[in-house]
């Protein structure tokens, strides 16, 4: 054989290009992975730096417990509870709508639907998941709001219910696909065991499959709620702009995300309290969603350990 491939007789690495290439690529790839850590550090730093200035002027207790949020009026008041309340109202409302619907759909897909039906329905859910938020905001105003106001004449034009409905549609695919995955991962033998005892499909689903898949399903709910909490454009368009402490879904409210959008649009020179509110609210939002995500992941991890 024509020996072209040269071998180092002593098995040491040849000097030169190849070694460099390895080193360069290793470093470059490490940097890529580190970029994700830098992102987190960046988020935390930026949010903290501006928020700390903010909390220099506004007491953190007032911020967390105040029930009036009027940062642009004179004198301004910085109690985040109304924004928090709005967020809870929209996220809670959408969860109330989307969870039963999503769980029902997941059960249908995993227990009832034929493979062909699944092949039709799953892409439709994927399409629904891919529709941008702003489109749902439009839908809420042009389509949902008039219907809501026909049913409840006392409803404001912009109200929390509008937003809850469209956000529910947005988180629906997430609930369905995550729940369906866990439902399908319940071993077939459990189903057969129950059917063999003369259980109806309802008995099997409610009594055996749901309890077995419970933690995965809970995790999917929490992830979906986290998503609803962070949902922005649809809520900014549909829910109104009035930060108030109310649990009436027909009222106009403002969420944390919508506040950030609204304030970003206006004139807020760097260094002003108005500019810093964006970061203070952003920090609260970040911590809230982070807590929900970590909780969901913890549940999922525990579930995986259980199955193994």
């Amino acid at each position: 054989m024509a020996v072209v491939v040269t071998h180092a007789a002593d098995l040491t690495a040849p000097k030169g290009q190849r070694r460099w290439m390895e080193l360069v690529m290793h470093t470059a790839l490490w940097l890529c992975a580190a970029a994700s850590v830098f992102t987190t550090v960046g988020i935390v730093l930026i949010l903290l730096v501006e928020s700390l200035q903010f909390f220099g002027d506004v007491s953190i207790v007032e911020f967390l417990t105040g029930t009036t949020w009027t940062p642009h009026s004179n004198p301004p008041q910085f109690g985040i509870l109304p924004l928090f309340c709005g967020t809870v109202l929209v996220a809670g409302g959408s969860a109330i709508i989307a969870i039963p619907l999503g769980l029902g759909a997941a059960i249908y897909l995993s227990e009832y639907a034929s493979p062909r039906m699944r092949d039709i329905l799953k892409p439709i859910l994927e399409i629904l998941a891919g529709i941008p938020s702003v489109v749902f905001g439009y839908l809420a105003i042009v389509f949902v709001s008039p219907i809501v106001r026909t049913i409840f004449p006392s409803a404001d034009i912009f109200n929390a219910l509008n937003a809850s409905i469209v956000v529910a549609i947005m988180i629906l695919p997430m609930i369905v696909s995550l729940s369906e995955d866990t439902l399908r991962s319940v071993p077939r033998s459990l189903r057969e065991g129950a059917y063999a005892l003369g259980a109806t499909k309802l008995d099997v689903t409610i009594g055996v499959i749901l309890p077995a898949a419970l933690s995965g399903i809970m995790a999917s709910f929490i992830l979906a709620i986290a998503r609803a909490v962070g949902e922005t454009m649809a809520v900014a368009l549909a829910a109104g702009k009035r930060p108030q402490m109310t649990l009436n879904p027909l009222d106009s409210i403002q969420t944390m995300t919508a506040y950030i959008v609204e304030t970003s649009k206006g004139d807020n020179p760097q260094g002003t309290l108005g500019y810093q509110t964006i970061f203070a609210v952003g920090l609260t939002l970040f911590l809230l969603t982070l807590a929900l995500n970590v909780l969901a992941q913890w549940i999922l991890k525990r579930m995986r350990e259980q199955y193994e």
């Binding site: 009027t70 004179n74 004198p75 034009i157 702009k241 009035r242 649009k265 004139d267």
Partner: protein
């Protein structure tokens, strides 16, 4: 991009933005080679950039303050001021409101000041002669220039206002809101009243000299007090060496009286317009020659 000669950069008031952008749009159709960038950082933000030399033109819904003028001077920035339109605010109630035919600025303050949030809930709280009807308030969002202006002249301090009203950036929603409820009261740009005269009842405002209804006339001559104000554009003098800027400004002055009503503002008088043209001609002699 300030350096390029075919670019005109404008920033400043969001109120004037509507006018400047509309004119820029028409201008763009006839002069596609000049790129006009219109932003809306607010009057204050605009003047900051203006003083720093970052933009050619600053839209303003109030005259420049002394501090801002001093900042310009420090940076060697000279400017001219053009008065391009008048903006009036309309105070409206539901057509079914048969007890209130005009309102005083004092009454407006009673209704809108921040402390009113806890005390003034009914029309009778404003004036004992008025009925015991729930007061429903509609107004622009806290980020708008209209809000700032109204709070400043009525409540005495910008952004000082009760917050338990229904705000909306969409004036249409305000119109709908006022239409929907017998006890409602709202304020917004005069232009929107003009488009909805049949659905709304306009209240003349009394600032001490008797009630005055807002019309093009009363807004222009200043008798509709204090809810009318002139709108300005400030132009850097050295920017007038840029032929694109001059072209745009000439076009602006030619068109503004036609466009103003379309975006809800009141045109300026011929006299003011003449003054504007003279100011511009004086500042941009080479442009006069070209003309």
């Amino acid at each position: 991009g300030c350096g390029r000669t075919n670019v005109v950069s404008i920033d400043g008031s969001s109120t004037v933005f509507l006018l400047s952008a509309a004119i820029a749009e028409e201008f763009n159709a006839v002069n596609p080679d000049v790129k006009v960038v219109v932003s809306q950082a607010g009057t204050g933000g605009g003047f900051k950039k203006f003083a720093a030399g970052e933009i050619h033109i600053c839209d303003a819904s109030r005259p420049i303050t002394e501090a801002e003028a001093a900042a310009c001077k420090k940076n060697g920035i000279e400017f001219i001021k053009l008065e391009v339109a008048f903006d009036g605010l309309a105070v409206v109630v539901n057509p079914a409101n048969d007890w209130c035919d005009s309102i005083t600025t004092e009454q407006l303050k009673t209704i809108w000041r921040a402390e009113a949030a806890t005390s003034v809930m009914k029309w009778s709280d404003v004036n004992p002669d008025w009925p015991d009807v729930e007061l429903e308030l509609y107004g622009p969002g806290t980020d708008s220039g209209t809000y700032d202006y109204f709070t400043e002249v009525i409540n005495g301090e910008a952004k000082s206002s009760r917050q338990d009203y229904s705000p909306s950036e969409s004036d249409n929603a305000l119109v709908q809101g006022v239409t929907g409820d017998k006890g409602s009261l709202g304020y917004f740009g005069l232009g929107y009243y003009a488009a909805n005269t049949d659905k709304l009842k306009l209240l003349p405002v009394d600032s001490g000299d008797g009630p005055v209804a807002p019309t093009a006339e009363t807004v222009r001559d200043g008798s509709y007090k204090p809810l009318a104000r002139p709108l300005y554009v400030y132009v850097r003098k050295d920017a007038l060496e840029n032929p694109g800027v001059v072209k745009y400004l000439r076009y602006y002055l030619d068109e503004t009286n036609k466009v103003s009503p379309q975006v809800g503002y009141v045109p300026v008088t011929d006299e003011i317009m003449k003054q504007n043209v003279e100011t511009l001609d004086a500042a941009a002699p080479q442009a006069v020659a070209a003309k």
